[in-house]
Amino acid sequence: MTLPSSRRVTITGYGCLTALGVGSVSTWQSLILGQSARVPITAIPVHGCRVTKGAQATLPNLPHLSAKQVERMSRASRLIHPAAREALSMADLLSGDGSCRLPRLETSISTTAGGMEKGEQFLQKVWKGQRGNRATLIAQYQAQQQIADLQRDFNFRGPATIISNACAGGANAIGHAADLIRSGMADIVLAGGFDALCELVYCGFDSLLTLAPEACRPFDRGRNGLMLGEGAALMVLESEEHAFKRGATIHGIVAGYGHATDTFHLTQPHQEGVILEQAMRQALDQAGLSASEVGYINAHGTGTPINDISEAKAFRRLFPVSTRLSSTKAAIGHTLGAAGAIEAVLSLLALKTGLLPPQLNLQDPEPDVMEMLVQQGEQLTMRSVMSVNLGFGGSNAALILTHS
């Protein structure tokens, strides 16, 4: 790809909610301490599944909304709301009454399941012949409703792109927002992703035998599956010019974005990770960086046997062994459409704090990346980080973030 880089894309706000905590600060503190959010799942019915544990978030109170509003919201809407508040507030885009200062704010947001539990409840009602409340369930089920909830609660309007590129979607949504700014089609975009636990998706992963019966162990030779999670993360991206004009604090730069589609198999990546390498090279080219200038990679690292070996081979070919690498999914779970967004926020926090999230649950490291995996207490010594994600259907995406 030949991408003009005339418009630098800045990050002026970010926020997240994960199973480790509400907000980026509490999530980051727990992550750096090496905590994992794995608990028995109680939010959705999982009785009968082979695995019944995962990274379940504690639903936050939403004091700015009425009890009735909160009751009608999907679980997904309840997760994304605090992430949006944190990001907009940090970007100084919230006025005193909690409304967005910009009446028009474009969004680029990823999800795989939207408000799926509402759709499940609708189907149960249809099959049981029950009436009542069906319209609300259908309205809340659709992915666009979570964006509409955000627009209503923060009082803004604007184009809404909802990307559903499976587990790479969060990175795609941030990358797309950066593309919109680089192309001159937008000055400022609220970008990220969200997904909530739901029965259908949980049972789907359980049926594929991809859920880890014990702890999730990315890049360990004894790994045996992923830990499903939930959460949301959003970033405020804006052109440097726009950020300067309104005096916004710049927390980082989206310097590079690459994406490519792996047609090897519907649910498995190419064994050598060649398409991931292609996406990472695109991102490096756009950022004008060499691989040796990237200090840390937040890997997709699901903990499944096939994903991690494919990634490891790509990392080994492209990066020197001095590059630091970890997958934070052992701590916060695999949050699907939110994963790329949450992990981009965590990568940014690594840049800002100079601390690196350790690779949890490591006993017997995958040889290709053995020397790259982050140990507890390691620090970042370089000015650029990368976050990569892969998804069903072969979506591969890489983001490079740098210091402002």
Partner: protein
Amino acid sequence: MKIEVLSSGHVSASGFAASATLNDAVCQRVGCKTSHPVALLDSMAPELRRWSQVPRLRRASAISYFMLEAAHQALEAAPEIDRSRVGVVASFFLGCIVYTVRFYKQITEDGRRYASPILFPETVFNTPVSHLVSTLGLGGPVYSQVGDKSCWATALRTAECWLRLGSADHVLVLGAEEFDPQVLEALRSTGLHTRGMVLGEGAGALLLTSQSNGKRVQLTGVADGYGFANKAQAMDASRNSLAEFPRELPILSTATGWTQSIEASVAKGRLLKRDERCFSEAFTARAAWDTIHGIELLKKNHLEDLVIPYWGLTQQFACARFTNPSA
């Protein structure tokens, strides 16, 4: 930069080609207590069956076949292009709804332990697009985008972004939906299914290019991001959306259901009637068919410009402007 329409593909119960050759859709009736007409595709039609014989697509959902056929038509009409430089943006309202409902029913009836690992991957929004790029050998960027019918316009905008940045030389923009009886039930529950509305299924594809020859119809603007939460806001949203383009331009009549009264009010005196034979309500697929049909009318009637509205049924209104340099 000029963005031109290179070719298109159309798959609906009315036929498998440009709407000039389409027939009246033969409607079936679906429903228990009250039956409703729906315009469904014949899964045994050779245009669809050929895709089911591709090894990777043996277990694919119908929506994958619809998309493949529409994309194939568009690409076949432009054999000279480099497929490694073709991006794909697909827009969905419901996506793989048939397998999603079937998978969830299986969990509910047979137990969670017996969920099918074969069905689950086919429920994912991104799956039909993955099948498409794999089967047709496309190498550009790929997004699956979701929303109400108006997300077709958002997909046009994504294509514009990629073409401007040079991420692709050509972009296939797709709208595709498949029918499941639960969709009818859902629309009736929400009051979105109104008298006379015929639900359908299928796909439409528009192949856009940045390699201009100056003679083809051009995409000259997209106005999206006009959301609403009630009918009064919907009226304002549609007015504001249309106001992004000059007042004298004709507007293709595309509204269905409850949006028809809004269209009649805000586009009064500017409406260009569409061919009523060809179209059922199939959300993003319908938006694609409307676009293809509008472009044909633009050429046939030697019009300079046409605004095509996308009346999202649940979230927002959007519209796009197409310009005919040969008029």
